[in-house]
Symmetry: C2
Subunit: 208 residues, 2 copies
């Protein structure tokens, strides 16, 4: 469980390209999984491991750019590297504006691709790490009752217990009770940590 094995997904309609890519990726130590069409890839469910995606621009059916759009709608998070034989400037512009990570023109050197792949995987690793932390925080946040959530927001905003109490028109004693539960449910060891959690969760007190 030190490092999860990354997977490189390749979508290209040309079997010989798939084979060639698979070979160079494998020889560089990457696990490759290939798809012959956008549809085929869309049917596939990627495992929850780091990786990146290599897309051919020109393909029958959905092309690479269209696939990119479809994936974006599904919160697909793998970095995307495009490949193209006779790519156009507008295509590359669209790709990058939609968040592509690289855009390689054939013929390209193995090294170029492998560099892009490594960069993509590293980026995805970091993303995943961050995302997992956020998942945990959001899950904890979801366990708060509406009242606790209110107290949470007001407390991290910097208000004193008595001020929060006044705001919610209840006693300070009750704030302490909620506050203690918030700390416990959020898994915060200190007020400082609770504030950091709130920051990451994008919590802003509605009043301030």
């Amino acid at each position: 469980m030190t490092e999860e094995k990354p997977v490189v997904y390749v979508v290209d309609d040309d079997p010989s390209v798939r084979k060639a890519l698979e070979r160079s990726l494998s020889s560089a130590g990457h696990e490759a999984k290939t798809f012959a069409s956008a549809a085929e890839f869309l049917d596939f469910t990627c495992p929850d491991t780091p990786g990146c995606l290599i897309l051919d621009i020109k393909m029958p059916g959905l092309n690479g750019l269209e696939l990119q759009d479809r994936l974006a709608e599904k919160n697909f998070t793998f970095p995307i590297i495009f490949m193209t034989g006779h790519g156009t400037v507008p295509a590359s512009v669209k790709a990058f504006k939609a968040g592509a990570m690289d855009f390689l023109q054939k013929p390209f050197k193995d090294r170029e691709l492998l560099n892009a792949v490594s960069t993509g995987i590293e980026k995805h690793r970091r993303q995943r790490k961050e995302h997992k932390k956020m998942e945990i925080l959001r899950a904890r946040l979801d366990t708060l009752t509406p009242r606790e959530r209110e107290v949470f927001e007001l407390v991290v905003s910097g208000m004193l217990n008595k001020q929060v109490a006044f705001d919610l028109e209840i006693t300070e004693r009750t704030i302490k009770a909620h506050r203690a539960r918030v700390m416990e449910k959020m898994g915060a060891q200190s007020l400082q940590e609770l504030v950091r959690f709130a920051e990451r969760l994008g919590i802003r007190s509605s009043t301030a």
Copy 2:
């Protein structure tokens, strides 16, 4: 002082292009300032107002991409929009990977350019706003003595005064003194706010 007037900088060696761009930018309500070469622009010091930069790719002397690199070295923060007559895919790729915001191929519609410009200016406005806040915070941080800085880091990490005291091998009373000065110098109205400041400043306790 409601809104600062943005400026659009244009660098293109072709006088007729400069004139044309100036006209369409003006008619859209933007203030334009034009330059005939990369060198000319590098000699210029942009005022501290929002704006964006429009660069021609192909120019005698330094071309647009090279200018982009030079500017990056100087922490130039204005969003860059490229224009090109016969742009190549590698050029657009390089531009985007170096942080370009858009890449327009001539002939382009006025609307395309103006949309890109508006987006760029808005982005820069947000950037500047954030940057100014950070400037203030960094300036305050710089007023802290080394000792106060240490206490700052340990306190926001979540340690109790007594723990910080133990760590620094001084008394809790002294921690309180430093802590009070940190709050005052940083302009924090609460511990919660102090933690948020530390987060933005990227302060991590070296021990934790």
